[in-house]
């Protein structure tokens, strides 16, 4: 149980860090396009600042949103796995992707079509965020498989 919880927390942390990476890159890429001087140093300091402020200073702490999304999605995946024999890695990967996509799609419904995660405004942004959800979910499922094998 302890180990499963550890994997769960780690997958939430991975997803949160990746979503923040996408948000940071989305904002900074646009700034580069209008000739703002973005260096590696500025990128790193902005990313580190975002890691703190998006979890501690934003309107809604991102890690809490991701945790809620993943807990619901993983629970549904676990129930589905009782009946459908499919690799856990793929099932949880799908759950992670759906969780992040749901966050990106549902948040605007609560805020008059406003995209609070600016990186998720475009289709490309939504796709990247969903992919990051898949990666985090895959990590969780693969870790459970590995634990079972040992």
């Amino acid at each position: 149980m302890m180990v499963k919880t550890f994997y769960l927390v780690l997958s939430i942390l991975i997803a949160t860090c990746l979503v923040i990476l996408q948000e940071t890159m989305s904002n900074l890429f646009w700034l580069v396009s209008v000739d703002m001087p973005i260096s590696i140093g500025i990128f790193l300091s902005t990313y580190l600042d975002n890691l703190m402020s998006m979890n501690l200073a934003g309107a809604i702490p991102l890690i809490v949103l991701v945790a809620i999304g993943f807990l619901i999605a993983y629970s549904v995946a676990k129930i589905i796995l009782i009946w459908i024999k499919v690799s856990r890695s793929y099932a949880y990967a799908l759950a992670g992707g759906v969780a992040i996509l749901a966050i990106v799609l549902l948040m605007p419904l609560a805020f008059y079509n406003l995209d609070i995660l600016a990186g998720g405004r475009s289709i490309l942004g939504k796709s990247i965020l969903t992919f990051f959800g898949l990666i985090s979910g895959y990590y969780f499922g693969a870790s459970l498989d590995k634990q079972r094998a040992t």
Binding site: V34, M36, S53, A57, G58, A59, Y112, N113, L114, A118
Partner: protein
């Protein structure tokens, strides 16, 4: 013992001196149970027009609120921050009864909407000869950040603030759209021949300045255009707006996104204008007026900016681009949506909310 007496006397004197200098005013409720009062246009001291965001144009006649809204208002999109918003009188209102209204206008099918400005004549109980003189383009899917305030320049042209639509913030830096711009048109909707981007084929000809976010107050004082705008989380600004200038949003900003993310790590760049004042944390500046009255002589020639958070009015002493003093006033009324000066020297406030009010601040 003598020292103690001196201290007591000194504190009493200081307290008396502070009270003697503090402005003595009182509130008079002009109207209540209003539906999100938004914009105010003072005709004279006893006659005041104002908008309610939910779509009504109302009038206080001879000091009393007419219970019937003025008829003839076009359909507005009342959602989010959208609705019937700004109002301004024509500079020749006394002779032509012409007013200008801004609002969020739903497109056909209502999936998108845009900022629209109309011109109309006010007759008894209704508006007539309604003409659309500006429609922001492209339309938006969001119901936020319309700007929607107006001011006349001394040459009779009309400035309209057009917000960035929230989701379209980067568009504020490009001239092919109306997001995050100050628009300048003639009062009939035509484009002035000296607009700054007329020669630029890629630019919308109505654009006067750009790089703005959500401009909620604009006044012209001796030819100087002051505008205030909401920043994101922090970074509300007071700017002196000038033609063709770029005010930087979102490439430079003193605020952060609501998610906590850094929108830009930069606060300045060559070719982008700096605010003459900014607020971190946000005060959510809304309306703005320049007070020239003498009812409160100590406030004469001050800029008044109403603020939604936490709810007060900021009195600023401004000389050119220097803000020398900021005083917080009327912080016991709630969210203040607009502020206007009355010819008798009193100040009119619109208190936001479902049960909003119109308040007159006058001397005791």
């Amino acid at each position: 013992m003598i020292n103690k007496i001196n201290i007591i006397l000194l504190s009493l004197f200081t307290s008396w001196f502070a009270n003697a200098n503090s402005t003595d005013y009182k509130y008079l409720t002009l109207a209540e149970n209003l539906s999100h009062p938004w914009g105010i246009a003072v005709i004279d001291k006893d006659n005041i027009l104002f908008t309610e965001l939910s779509g009504q144009l109302r009038i206080i006649e001879n000091g009393v609120l007419n219970p019937e809204p003025i008829k003839g208002i076009p359909e507005v999109l009342f959602a989010g921050q959208g609705g019937l918003s700004g109002i301004i009188l024509d500079p020749e209102y006394d002779s032509n009864n012409t007013i200008y209204l801004s609002f969020s206008s739903p497109d056909e099918g209502k999936k998108t909407n845009t900022l629209e400005v109309i011109r109309a004549k006010l007759s008894s109980g209704s508006i007539e000869q309604v003409e659309t003189i500006f429609k922001a383009s492209p339309s938006r899917r969001t119901a936020a950040h319309y700007g929607a305030k107006m001011a006349f320049l001394d040459d009779g042209t009309l400035l309209i603030t057009s917000g960035d639509g929230f989701n379209y913030r980067e568009s504020a830096q490009y001239l092919d759209n109306h997001y995050g711009k100050i628009i300048r048109i003639n009062s009939d909707g035509s484009i002035p021949k000296d607009n700054p981007f007329l020669e630029n084929k890629d630019a919308r000809p109505e654009i006067w300045s750009y790089g703005h976010r959500n401009l909620q107050g604009i006044v012209v004082v001796d030819g100087i255009v002051y505008e205030n705008e909401h920043g994101p989380m922090g970074g509300d600004e007071l700017n002196i707006a000038e033609p063709s200038k770029n005010y930087g949003w979102p490439a430079i900003t003193y605020g952060k996104d609501y998610s906590g993310a850094t929108i830009s790590p930069f606060t300045e760049k060559e070719g982008m204008e700096q605010p003459i004042k900014y607020w971190v944390p946000s005060i959510a500046p809304s309306g703005m007026t320049y007070y020239t009255g003498t009812l409160f002589p100590e406030w004469t020639n001050s800029l008044f900016i109403s603020a939604l958070v936490p709810g007060d009015v900021r009195r600023l002493e401004v000389s050119g681009n220097i803000v020398s003093e900021e005083e917080i006033l009327f912080n016991d009324l709630g969210r203040i949506r607009d502020v206007a000066s009355s010819p008798d020297g009193s100040i009119i406030l619109a208190i936001d909310g479902q049960n909003g009010k119109l308040i007159r601040v006058t001397s005791r």
